[in-house]
Structures are given as structure tokens and as C-alpha cells.
């Protein structure tokens, strides 16, 4: 039932696309018909191009995402809880946060080369801040009354963080992780502009270069569907981790 409801809007768009294409209201070159896209998708599947590209990008996204989590998450906790870290780090991180990664490509090539490292760093740059800032927000607004409970029990810092602050700030952290994962996918094109030879981003760039908008759209759809699937998995996991939160939103139809 939920699945059907969630398909309503996509189906409206799809119908619109079909009808528009049939009536020729869209420029075929910029928005090919669903049939043409379907044919392109099928061809890419059959000649074994699509799946390896998906695999490459999936790996990149996941590796980039997990590396980012490994940095952004502890740093977020540190900055959220420690005034000194805050004073030291907020300014440089804020500076970096506003820089378009595309402007940094020459420097990234200089420092990271043209291998996997520079592609990952584009992904990391895009993923870092949503995770970082949401972690900071979560831990810094965690109910201090609960923290006090741990303090009077003589808990160590790590115990207070692990047993009180993190569970209490889970909703914010989860939002950060979901946003971050989304931005990992979004960074694919930028990342795979850097000397990639495969991947969905590469496939899209290549297709755009050669004006194959049908392939571009196959790529877009692949990324969107994969991203959505991963987000669903994410929500499923977070429900398991946080059984006390019955639903994705607790105030739904409050």
C-alpha cells in the first residue's frame, strides 16, 4: 500500500513524459522518448556496459561514504562537545565548506594524482559537511539532563558519548548520514570527470559529450533508483537500531 502511494507521483511524471514524447512536445535530442531510453538501457545491459559501471560507481560511493563517515563523525562529536576544538576548527572547515569542489580539481590532481584517490576526495568533500554538521548539531543539542546522569554515575567520557550522547542524537546523525549518502551519489559526475574510465558518472559524461541523451537518462535513472534503494535500506536499518522510534517521523499527523 505504501509502495503504491509512493509510486503515484513518479507515475504521473512518467505518463507526462510518455504523452509528451508521443505528441512530440519535447525535443527528442534533449529528452528522448521513454522507448528510446528503454532501448538504450536494454542495449547497455546486453552489451555488458551498465552493470560494471553501476558496480564501479557503487564501490566508489560506498568507499567514499565510509571514509567520510570515519572522519566526519568523530570530528563532529569532537567539535560538538569541545569548545576548544570548535574554536580551532570551525573557521577553516567553514571556509572549506563553501568551496566548489570543481574549482579544486587542479589542486586535487596535484595532491591526489589521477587515480582513485582524487575521485574519492571529490566524493568526500561533498559528503563530509552534511554528516559533520548534523553530528555537531545532534551532539551539541543532546539533552544535558541525560548527560548529567552519566556524569554523576562516574562514567568515562567515552562511556558518556557512547551510551548517552550518541543514542540521544541519533535522529540528527541519521539525517546527516542520509544527506551525506545522497551527496556521495551527486558527486559522482564531478568525481568521474577526473580521469575515470568507468562508472555511471563517466558513462553520463561520455554520453553527454557524444550527445547520447538517451544514455544520459539511463544513467540518471540508475543513480536515482540506486540512491533511493540505498535510502530505503538506510531507513530500514535505522528503524532496527532505534526501535523506540516507531516511525520515520514521530509527529506524523500529530
Amino acid at each position: 500500500m505504501r509502495i503504491i502511494k509512493s509510486l503515484i507521483i513518479p507515475l504521473i511524471f512518467f505518463t507526462f513524459w510518455c504523452i509528451g514524447s508521443a505528441l512530440g512536445s519535447f525535443n527528442e535530442f534533449l529528452l528522448p522518448s521513454p522507448l528510446k531510453v528503454y532501448a538504450a538501457g536494454l542495449e547497455l545491459l546486453q552489451n555488458g556496459v551498465l552493470l560494471p559501471n553501476i558496480y564501479t560507481s557503487l564501490c566508489r560511493v560506498l568507499i567514499g561514504f565510509f571514509i567520510t563517515v570515519a572522519f566526519a563523525f568523530p570530528l563532529g562529536i569532537l567539535v560538538g562537545l569541545n569548545r576548544r576544538a570548535q574554536e580551532l576548527l570551525i573557521a577553516p572547515l567553514d571556509f572549506l565548506r563553501h568551496i566548489p569542489p570543481l574549482a579544486l580539481t587542479p589542486l586535487l590532481i596535484l595532491w591526489c594524482g589521477i587515480g582513485e584517490a582524487s575521485k574519492l576526495s571529490v566524493i568526500i568533500l561533498a559528503t563530509f559537511f552534511p554528516i559533520f554538521l548534523n553530528t555537531v548539531n545532534g551532539v551539541s543539542h543532546c539533552d544535558s539532563k541525560l548527560i548529567e546522569v552519566g556524569k554523576v554515575m562516574g562514567f568515562s567520557h567515552t562511556a558518556i558519548i557512547g551510551r548517552i550522547i550518541l543514542p540521544a542524537s541519533m535522529p540528527s546523525i541519521m539525517t546527516g548520514l542520509r544527506l551525506g549518502l545522497g551527496f556521495s551519489w551527486r558527486a559522482l559526475i564531478g568525481a568521474e570527470l577526473l580521469a575515470a574510465a568507468s562508472g555511471l558518472g563517466y558513462m553520463i559524461i561520455d554520453a553527454e559529450q557524444f550527445s547520447r541523451t538517451d544514455i544520459v537518462i539511463v544513467g540518471i535513472l540508475s543513480i536515482g533508483i540506486l540512491g533511493y534503494a540505498m535510502d530505503l535500506a538506510f531507513l530500514w536499518i535505522s528503524k532496527r537500531i532505534m526501535p523506540w522510534q516507531k516511525e520515520f517521523t514521530t509527529n506524523a499527523n500529530y
Partner: protein, 294 residues
């Protein structure tokens, strides 16, 4: 249709690599002056890449792709964009270079088993293939990585690749930085850059298209008559030094007539694209040439 119907003409403006006549026409408001009398406003969207120019043309946002790589024109046509080449913008085989940093790499032969970076599917890519073939190598003898010119430049200068495909202003800058040219397009390719127009526009307003070409002639004439002023304008617009502008200027042949040699080159380009799987549907080259100017 009458030209009175036309309220606005979009002409893409591309400075890179060193499109002197386009810069002159733009800076001197030549198109505006020409079409002012008809009450037509001119827009100059800066769409630097070929695909974006043809996309904008397909969307009806521009009528003229004033500086379009030959391969972009062919690919667009092959994928269904109805455009016509109305003139040559420039031929510049010398502007397209293969450069290396490592002193031991002095010729294309030395590139065997090396990494070469550059923009895939462009004139530069085509030149690399031609150069390899000429030296008895095949494309699989090197490792090609796809990158934009600025990225390829960075990759070469940071030692991540052995050679980079670069065009225009990057060349003198990189030479100052210790790189050297190991080959250019001379004798390999024409380096053809064309002027293309939306075919519908051409059919409906051949007069306006003709006048567009007249303006191009005018800017070419200004360029010949006032070289010093030209260099100054170009240097200012591109943030290049006057010396570098002067150095590169002779690489370009800006005469606009479409010659048989040019058509031949278009054919060669199409073969290159087809052979390397960058294009599916072969087109008839004659179909994209309009000889409105002849």
C-alpha cells in the same frame, strides 16, 4: 517569414582557445550594431563546450554556434540536431598539441605504454590517433585517460601522466612551466572549427544568416587592419599576456570559406568518430554544409 518576426538572436560566445574574430565582434558590439536597425537584440551566452552549444541550439536558446568543433557538429547532426555549417571559423592544426614534461619523451614514438590525458572525442583526441598511426603505433599502445584540458594540464605538470593533449593558451604557459611540445596537428589534422546555424533559422531567415557572416568578415577585416588594438583587446579579454597572444595568433587561419579540403577533413573526422564508437549513425557530410556564402 520576415526578419521583423525575429526579436532576439542567440550567438554563442566562445573565447577559448583563441578565437580572435569572435572576441573582436563581441567586444566591438558588431552584431548589436548590425541588427540594431531591425530591433533585434543579441545575446551572447558563453557556452564553451560543443555539446552544450548544440544542446542550447536544440532547445532554441541560440541560433548560431559561432565556434563549434567539427566533431561536435557532426555528432549533433548524427543525433538529430538539425544544424548547418555555414562557414569555417578557423583552421588551426598548430594550435593542437601533444605536450610532455619528461625530457626523455621527445616524440610520439616515446609515448608507447605511457599515459596520455586529454579530452575524449575532440579534435585533440583525433590528432593523437592520427599521430600514433603515423608513427606506426595503434591507440592501444598507449593508455588514454579522459580529462578536460585544464585537468590534463594539471595532471601532466604534477607528473601523473606522461603527455597531455592541450590546445591554445595552455601551450605557452606550459612551456614556461618546463613542458615541451612533442607534436602538433600539422600534417595530421585540419583542426577545423566551424560556424553552425540552426537549420530552421537558416531556412526562415537566410538574409539574417548572410548578414551574420558579413559581420564575421568585418571582424576579420578589423583584425587585419588593426593588429595592435586587436592584440590588446584579446589579451584583456582572456587575461593572457600580449606576448602569448602574439605568439599564438599565427597558428590560426581564420578564413571562412568552406573548401574541398575542409569537407574532406569533416569526412575524416566522421570516420574517426565512427571507428571509435563515439557515434552510431553515419551522416552525409554534404547535408550539414550550407553554401549560402558561396
Amino acid at each position: 517569414a520576415l526578419s521583423e518576426d525575429v526579436k532576439e538572436i542567440g550567438i554563442t560566445y566562445v573565447k577559448f582557445p583563441l578565437n580572435v574574430p569572435a572576441i573582436i565582434a563581441y567586444k566591438k558590439n558588431m552584431f548589436e550594431n548590425e541588427f540594431k536597425q531591425d530591433g533585434i537584440t543579441i545575446t551572447h551566452p558563453e557556452l564553451t563546450s560543443g555539446p552544450k552549444q548544440t544542446q542550447a541550439m536544440a532547445a532554441g536558446s541560440v541560433q548560431f554556434a559561432s565556434v563549434l568543433g567539427a566533431s561536435s557538429a557532426i555528432i549533433a547532426k548524427s543525433n538529430g540536431v538539425d544544424l548547418k555549417i555555414i562557414a569555417v571559423f578557423a583552421r588551426a592544426p598548430k594550435a593542437f598539441n601533444i605536450m610532455a614534461l619528461d625530457k626523455s619523451i621527445n616524440s610520439v614514438k616515446d609515448l608507447k605504454n605511457k599515459i596520455v590525458a586529454g579530452p575524449k572525442g575532440t579534435v585533440l583526441h583525433q590528432m593523437l590517433y592520427a599521430a600514433l598511426l603515423k608513427e606506426g603505433l595503434t591507440p592501444s599502445d598507449i593508455k588514454f585517460v579522459n580529462m578536460s584540458i585544464p585537468q590534463a594540464r594539471a595532471a601532466l605538470m604534477s607528473g601523473n601522466v606522461s603527455a597531455a593533449l592541450v590546445a591554445g593558451p595552455s601551450v605557452p604557459v606550459m612551456e614556461t612551466g618546463g613542458c615541451h611540445v612533442i607534436a602538433n596537428g600539422e600534417g595530421l589534422i585540419q583542426g577545423l572549427i566551424v560556424v553552425a546555424v540552426d537549420n530552421n533559422f537558416l531556412k526562415e531567415h537566410p538574409d539574417l544568416v548572410k548578414r551574420y557572416l558579413d559581420v564575421n568578415e568585418k571582424s576579420a577585416k578589423f583584425m587585419k587592419d588593426n593588429p595592435e588594438e586587436t592584440f590588446e583587446i584579446v589579451a584583456k579579454e582572456t587575461n593572457l599576456t600580449i606576448e602569448n597572444v602574439k605568439k599564438m595568433f599565427p597558428w590560426y587561419d581564420y578564413s571562412s570559406a568552406i573548401t574541398g579540403k575542409d569537407i574532406k577533413d569533416l569526412e575524416v573526422t566522421q570516420e574517426f568518430l565512427l571507428d571509435n564508437g563515439m557515434m552510431k549513425n553515419k551522416i552525409n557530410i554534404k547535408d550539414i554544409i550550407s553554401n549560402i556564402n558561396q
